[in-house]
């Protein structure tokens, strides 16, 4: 079975974010980047499906040249080859714009399954997978915990709210968005890193795919959130801060 995994490169989790001079996005020049964590779980699910059922895992990523690092990591972990839609200014594109690029690149591969994370850690719209499915004319399931391959379908366990779950069966080809944390992520082995250097990364562009870089919605302004509460920061050494907190909990909150 051929599985495409759509992955995104995002600023590293602990980055100190600074708003750019236009106030419409963040400064990206001095940031470290990593794979969007939910997509790392999608990649892991794809690799496990391949180990069980055979086939091929193709990583698909839209991003600037520097996203090549995230693609190499996916190849080092076991993806067989990659498609890199190399464009610099994707930060201003919206979900539909990105999904059109991903769907066009995926179509040419005729995959059995397209997997992606359930949301990105930067924009967090949580819908790229669903929109790709609609554009590809494929059925989809979101927030997937388990995937079981059947003859011409997959049976997946979906997470619902408040501790509820549900099994859903979908005919192939299909798109699945994978829940984070469902399995342990593998590390790339030394052998994997070595092999990744020889694996194929096919470079694509929006123009080459015939997809215009066109946004429907726009971010007008980025700014620090307004605080909903006044936080009292208790400072000093750990012992001093702890003593201040206990005093608050005892005399103001009356919880001790």
């Amino acid at each position: 079975m051929k599985i495409i995994v759509a992955i995104k490169q995002v600023p590293a989790r602990d980055s100190q974010l600074r708003i750019d001079s236009k106030g419409k996005w963040i400064q990206t020049s001095d940031l470290a980047f990593e794979i969007n964590e939910p997509d790392a779980y999608a990649l892991e699910a794809a690799l496990q499906l391949k180990e069980k059922n055979g086939g091929e895992v193709v990583a698909l990523c839209a991003g600037p040249a520097s996203a090549g690092q995230t693609i190499r990591e996916a190849l080092a972990k076991g993806a067989d080859r990659a498609l890199h839609i190399e464009e610099d200014n994707l930060d201003t594109l919206d979900t539909l714009g990105i999904a059109r690029l991903l769907a066009k690149a995926a179509t040419a591969e005729s995959p059995d399954l397209v997997l992606t994370g359930l949301q990105s850690e930067d924009l967090g719209y949580g819908q790229t997978g669903v929109v790709v499915a609609e554009l590809l004319g494929m059925p989809h399931a979101t927030i997937v915990m388990e995937v079981e391959r059947k003859d011409s379908s997959v049976r997946v366990k979906r997470e619902l709210e408040n501790g509820w779950f549900q099994y859903v069966e979908l005919p192939l080809p299909a798109v699945l968005t994978i829940q984070s944390g469902i399995s342990k992520l593998r590390y790339a082995t030394l052998m994997g890193i070595k092999k990744a250097k020889t694996k194929e990364v096919k470079r694509l562009t929006a123009a080459g795919l015939g997809v215009p870089l066109q946004a429907t919605i726009a971010i007008d302004r980025v700014y620090p959130p307004e605080k909903s509460k006044q936080t009292q920061i208790l400072d000093g050494s750990p012992k001093e801060a702890a003593a201040k907190l206990v005093e608050k909990l005892k005399f103001e909150v009356r919880a001790i």
Partner: protein, 325 residues
């Protein structure tokens, strides 16, 4: 009619509480724009309590194929409702179910769902949606483009359900017939189930000590366990801790775990991703202990300690013991 349409969610006659928050948001948006406001029920013709909310219209989209949820069925049905009633704005509660079909529905209209919205503003007569970026570290103003209808989903707790304006007299329900084809519903869903009975009821705890990624490894859990013990508190956790099996799933707080509102909630090494915040921001007093002063948990905290939890927690245990002695 080119007003605001709220899509509600219920299952077997039980309302999703976020439906009322979305009604409140839709009423407010419609009032700000001086537009009519309507609501839709899907898979039922019984509007129940919805008939007692101040709405210009209630549409019932009912069909045997909508009795249980499928993305294909809901998308086809709501596409027909929207094409027929022609709303300018369509609002949804940002539930797991909405996340499953609303992006697909918006795509049918060449639109993008502005998802997980925390508020809106009217700027020069246009609506600007406010949503969070980078797991709540930044906010963004997002404007719509292209042709209406415009789609947005409302974050849990962003609007208050009790702000939904009641109707003076019950609103009649208008059935909107839709044509659905069983062959076009590609997925087959089995009945929802729960994995196990919950032995731990965090909802009744007076004090909760909750631990997140900052604890780094399972071997460090006893450090916070000790704090919970001396405070007489229940121990809880954010999702990654339970995913890793460091604490049982039944101790998870957040959108996929329990919703709690204790007297005191002490968040230790929890950054405060929105999925966690929706489960605990109703706590009376929130304490955040985190090494990153920019962590979103400090946005909701009453008291904060910026520091290394491995130094702060043992010190706190000693101080609590002293105070109780």
């Amino acid at each position: 009619m080119s007003g605001v349409l709220a899509i509600t969610e219920q299952r077997d006659g039980v309302w999703h509480r976020m439906s009322w928050e979305t009604i409140a948001a839709a009423q407010q948006l419609a009032a700000d724009l001086k537009l009519p406001v309507s609501a839709a029920i899907v898979g039922t013709s019984d509007a129940g309590d919805l008939a007692h909310k101040k709405l210009d219209r209630i549409y019932a989209v009912d069909d045997p194929l909508l009795k249980s949820y499928t993305a294909d069925g809901y998308t086809d049905a709501l596409e027909q409702l929207i094409r027929r009633t022609n709303p300018r704005y369509v609002l949804f509660p940002h539930t797991y179910q909405v996340r499953d079909f609303a992006p697909k529905l918006a795509t049918r209209f060449n639109q993008v769902l502005v998802s997980d919205v925390v508020g809106f503003r009217i700027v020069n007569g246009s609506v600007v949606m406010v949503r969070q970026l980078f797991q709540g570290k930044l906010n963004a103003d997002v404007s719509f483009g292209g042709e209406a209808p415009f789609f947005a989903s409302i974050q849990a707790g962003a609007f208050r359900a009790d702000n939904a304006v009641p109707a003076e007299s019950p609103v009649a329900v208008e059935p909107v017939p839709v044509h659905l084809d069983a062959a076009k519903i590609r997925s087959r869903s089995e009945a929802p189930f729960r994995e196990s009975q919950r032995a731990v009821d965090l909802a009744s705890a007076g004090i909760i000590v909750s631990v997140g990624r900052g604890i780094r490894e399972k071997e460090n859990i006893p450090i916070v366990e000790e704090l919970a013990k001396v405070l007489g508190a229940e121990l809880a956790a954010s999702r990654p801790i339970c995913d890793n099996g460091w604490l049982p799933m039944e101790r998870q707080v957040g959108s996929s775990g329990q919703t709690v509102s204790p007297k005191v909630y002490i968040a230790v090494g929890i950054s405060g991703a929105i999925q966690h915040l929706v489960g605990m921001k109703g706590a009376k007093t929130i304490v955040a202990i985190n090494k990153d002063s920019n962590a979103p948990i400090f946005e909701v905290a009453d008291y904060g300690i910026v520091g290394d939890l491995f130094e702060v927690i043992p010190a706190l245990v000693e101080e609590v013991k002293k105070a109780k002695a």
